[in-house]
Each structure stands twice: as C-alpha cells, then as structure tokens.
C-alpha cells in the first residue's frame, strides 16, 4: 500500500527524496520504496522520518480502518 502521507509531508516541507534520505541517513531508493509501499521501515527509521518532517508517527503511518 502506497504511503501517500509521507510523500505529502515531504512535499509540504519542500524536500526532495534525496534530501529526506540524507537527513535520515538512508538511500534515496529506500525513501522511494517506503513511499511506494515496497519497504516497511523499522520503528527507528519511522521516528527519524517523523522528526525530520516535524510530524507524529500517527500522521505518517496510521491508517484508519475502512468499513
């Protein structure tokens, strides 16, 4: 499942995938794969992403149940 929230938060901060990757110490490919839903990051990386983007874990990773 695509993580559009991460993409939106990154775009909201006017950051490229490369800039976000550099800020959290991963490769651009990793950010791309998280956004496209092809890689599940560790909690440690999730927290690092949240800190850089100034959002909470809920903002980026919580999905409301669809009825």
């Amino acid at each position: 499942m695509k993580n559009l929230k991460l993409k939106a938060a990154r775009a909201g901060r006017d950051l490229s995938q490369q800039q976000l990757a550099d800020a959290v110490g991963v490769t651009r490919q990793t950010i791309g794969m998280i956004e496209s839903g092809n890689f599940n990051p560790s909690l440690q990386l999730c927290v690092a992403l949240c800190r850089v983007l100034g959002v909470t874990l809920n903002d980026l990773f919580w999905e409301d149940e669809t009825i």
């Binding site: 110490g25 991963v26 490769t27 490919q29 990793t30 890689f39 440690q44 990386l45």
Partner: protein, 160 residues
C-alpha cells in the same frame, strides 16, 4: 567495534541478508549433493571429498549452535518435543539408510536382502543417534528460550 564502517541502510542490509539467505541454502544443499554423489554414486575415496565434508560440517554445526543460542528451533515449523524429534529423526535416518542401501547395490553389487539389511541396521543406529541429538538440542533450546525470556522480562511483570 566493527572492522569496516559501511554506509548501508536498513533496507539494503535486509535485502543483502535475503540474497545471502537464498544462496546460503543453495550452497548448503549443493555441497551436500556433491559430497553424496562423489562418495555414494561415483565411489570416490573419502580423501577426495574430505575438505568439502569439513566445510559442510562447519556450516551445519555452526548454524545449529547459532540457532540454538538464539533459541531458534526449526524456523517455526514445529516446537521442540518428542513428536518433532521423532519426525526429524525418521526423515534423516530414512533418507541416509536408503542412500546406503542403494549404494550397496550400485557400488558393491550386494544382493537385495543384504542391502536391505544394511539399510535397516543403518536406520536403527542413525535413528538412535539423531533422536538423542535432537532431544539434547531441543532441551538446550528450551532452556535458552527461558533464559532469554527472563533476560528481557518486563520488570513490572516479574515483580507482580
């Protein structure tokens, strides 16, 4: 302290481990197959495959010790117990005794009943050996699991 500092991130490391995992098992079974083919089908002397045997045993014993120390039994297929020890012992000893019986016929032209008897004797000895080893290993793994649980136990739970 790490010998080399790498810039690998967690995704790259995970993907590297996945690739290594697949090729580890290909190498493991491939090595076993080459040893068995050399010794039991082609009739090569033991000296010819001694090096391969040493490498294979290092991999097999090393993996078993590593898994046991982490409290891992068989990759989650079953749990340590008599039923599991029986199953693995029967599979292992049956596979090897069939191989022994077949090689007796193919290499030494042994009569069928002699090959069968050889297979049965091999099965009994191997079964006892494997079952005892599995039981010891299983008991050790259960003990390790208990120790690891205690090590990482929540203080609040242990006090209550």
């Amino acid at each position: 302290m790490k010998l080399f500092k790498t810039n690998m991130d967690e995704r790259e490391r995970m993907e590297m481990y996945t690739v290594e995992h697949y090729f580890f098992w290909i190498a493991f079974w491939g090595l076993l197959a080459t040893i068995l083919v050399q010794n039991f089908i082609l009739g090569a002397p033991f000296q010819q495959s001694a090096g391969e045997w040493i490498v294979f045993m290092v991999i097999a014993v090393g993996s078993c010790i590593g898994y046991a120390r982490k409290g891992v039994y068989d990759g989650g297929i079953s749990q340590p117990g008599v039923k599991s020890y029986l199953l693995y012992s029967v599979i292992g000893s049956l596979a090897f005794s069939v191989l022994i019986g077949a090689s007796m016929i193919l290499r030494w032209q042994a009569p069928l009943h002699i090959a069968f008897l050889g297979g049965v004797i091999c099965f009994v000895f191997l079964f006892v050996l494997l079952f005892a080893t599995m039981a010891l290993l299983g008991a050790y793994i259960q003990n390790r699991r208990k120790k690891l649980e205690e090590k990482f136990e929540d203080d609040d739970e242990s006090n209550s």
